[in-house]
Amino acid sequence: MADGSIGLWTVPLAVLGGAIRVSTPFLFVSLGECITERSGRINLGLEGTLVMGAMSAYGISYLTGSPWLGVFAAGVTGALLGALHAGICSLPRVNDVAVGIALMLFGTGLAFYLGKPLIEPTAPRLPAIDFGWWSDIPQVRAALRVNVLFLIGVALAPILYWAFRTTRWGLLIRTAGESSDAARAMGHSVLLIRLRATMVGGFLAGIGGSFLSLFYPGSWNEGLSSGQGITAVALVIFARWDPLLCLWASLAFGGAAALGPALQSVGVTSGYHLFNAAPYILTLAIMIITCSPKRTLTGAPAELSITR
């Protein structure tokens, strides 16, 4: 169109753009949680890890001027929080869900406390790769400005899928998750496997947080996550502990987040609260359709405290 608007095409384009822009934190947190849960432990604290990751990435990027150093710092922070979770959970008779909730509050609280001086300054952001170079339409170009972290996440999903099936450490994680007795009989320390799996999970969740503060929406503030970490943890169950399904589920949640604003922008103004709730309605619907009283969830690791 002559005036530079693309009319109703905005909606599919916004959903596509949203899938790319908004999904990355979901993707990293859910892949991380997938590894942790496959080893037989739930880390609900990833919401706190995500927020801590976002804060530390922003802080390091601001202080050093290098956003990539910020991403790395976010990962390390996440791994440390993961180690804390795993460490506490390796004590006898500790409930991993309760520890997770405690760490969620601890992580967000600590991030708000340490992040106070970071709200005002502007830190250098991660660069974007322009995949829309072939198009003359500015809207398409904007939707296809992709961050490297998104690409890494997309690549990581099939790699994890493959690794769980065919590599030695993938087998070990699954053994620890399916039967800790079997893992012990093989001469492996279940606690050590879970410690590593939780640390890797935390590392990825931290990186997911760095995407929030360093790319999109792209600044540190206290409402930044608004529950995305906890949504991503739920998403793992939704995706049946399958990294490839985690990828699709993250993309769907990202796209759905863009649906509400996009529909309002083309004039569908009634019921925007309902559209904003779209991802959650989707989750509920799929959960209800696929659940069965006769068996546990397919793909659920047998050692997980919610299925045991």
């Binding site: 005036d3 530079g4 809207q139 409402g223 604003p261 922008s265």
Partner: protein
């Protein structure tokens, strides 16, 4: 119950009462350290609502003899009562500014009744005759500044499409949207203002998505009414759109894209309040005003604002500042569904209480209130 804290508090209460007496005795000058307490719902450097109040507090800090105590991130629950109690009893605060809307009822009202000698000033305009006389409520007609922003936006926009990222469809927000849209139509009678509601005061991801969708629709000047405009300003500037700010001056975030903005002017109002108290005058319980009363102001114009736009905006601003004032919402006003909302011949001036019940979007706004 924490007994240790209670006893410590009681001990200090005596001390606080002494200083309090001293402070009241020394009127009108506040030589003996008058303490003023500020309570914010969020972080005070959020480039938004709280920062605007913190700037007001900072202006008070410069006045000799005044001590300012501040607490951030106090939720709109019993927590604010505890904060008020500790500011009074531990710090000896005699004037309190609980700044967030939800602090008023029942929390601040309860505290004002409990401490009838102290002054409480709340931002939001909620005071009624039934409330304690030492409680006050002030608010600014920031839609005047939004109207000026609208004029500048109308001149600057090439597509004639403006965008408004709003939190919730409540009267104060709708009034800002309408004022912005009407201002834009002064500059460009064909201008439209598209509004997107995010659903809450602080939703950074939704705000960023709303900003992107508006720009995808061809919008090239945006403004907002959310708690922290930083997300909208930064994301719009990255896409090459222009922005008008809100709450405070966001031009440091996007110096090239920033046109102007509607700002609170608490740094002018709060020292006035303090001087009134020091002089023994009582602050009206219901204190309001706009540009003329220096409760709101506009940000300095950005580089790209044309001379024509500046002149038109300055002319309208001069009318707001004049003795007879200026009505934004004039008779014959039609909403965006074609219904006449203000009958021809009745101008609704700023202080008209009808405007505080606003539940419509005017002609030229694309969007709906529900």
């Amino acid at each position: 119950m924490d007994f240790g804290r209670i006893s410590r508090r009681q001990v200090l209460q005596g001390g606080a009462a002494l200083t309090l007496g001293a402070a009241t005795g020394m009127r009108p000058a506040f030589a003996a350290e008058t303490t003023i307490g500020f309570i914010y719902v969020g972080s005070r450097d959020d480039y938004g609502y709280n920062q605007a109040h913190a700037q007001g507090a900072a202006a008070l800090k410069k006045i000799p003899g005044l001590k300012v105590v501040e607490e951030e991130k106090v939720p709109e629950t019993d927590a604010v009562e505890k904060t008020i109690e500790s500011m009074i009893n531990l710090d000896g605060a005699t004037l309190l500014f609980p700044t967030s809307f939800g602090y008023y009822n029942p929390h601040m009202v309860k505290m004002a009744a409990k401490y009838p000698k102290l002054h409480f000033e709340h931002c939001g305009g909620l005071w009624t005759d039934k409330d304690p006389k030492n409680a006050g409520s002030y608010f600014g007609y920031i839609d005047e500044a939004q109207y000026i922003s609208g004029i500048i936006a109308g001149y600057t926009s090439k597509s004639g499409k403006l965008g408004f990222v709003a939190a919730k469809p409540i009267p104060q927000v709708l009034r800002n949207i309408n004022a912005f849209a009407l201002g834009a139509r002064l500059a460009n009678p064909k201008a439209t203002t598209q509004v997107i509601f995010t659903g809450d005061w602080s939703m950074p991801v939704k705000e960023a998505e709303a900003t992107n969708s508006l720009i995808d629709q061809g919008v090239d000047v945006l403004t907002c009414h959310v708690d922290g405009p930083k997300t909208m300003v930064e994301n719009a500037a990255r896409r090459g759109a222009f922005v008008c700010g809100y709450h405070t001056n966001q031009s440091p975030l996007a110096p090239k894209a920033y046109l102007t903005g509607a700002e609170w002017n608490w740094e002018a109002l709060y020292p006035k309040f303090v001087k009134m108290i020091a002089a023994g005058e009582s602050i009206p319980n219901f204190y309001r005003g706009g540009l003329k009363e220096e409760i709101v102001k506009t940000s300095p114009y950005g580089e790209v604002v044309s001379a024509e736009a500046r002149k038109h905006a300055d002319d309208v601003k001069a009318k707001f500042l004049s003795a007879e004032g200026y009505a934004i919402f004039k008779g014959g006003l039609v909403d965006n569904k074609g219904k006449t909302v203000i009958a021809a011949g009745t101008d609704r001036g700023q202080k008209d209480p009808e405007l505080e019940k606003m539940d419509y979007l005017v002609e030229g706004v694309i969007g709906a209130t529900s």
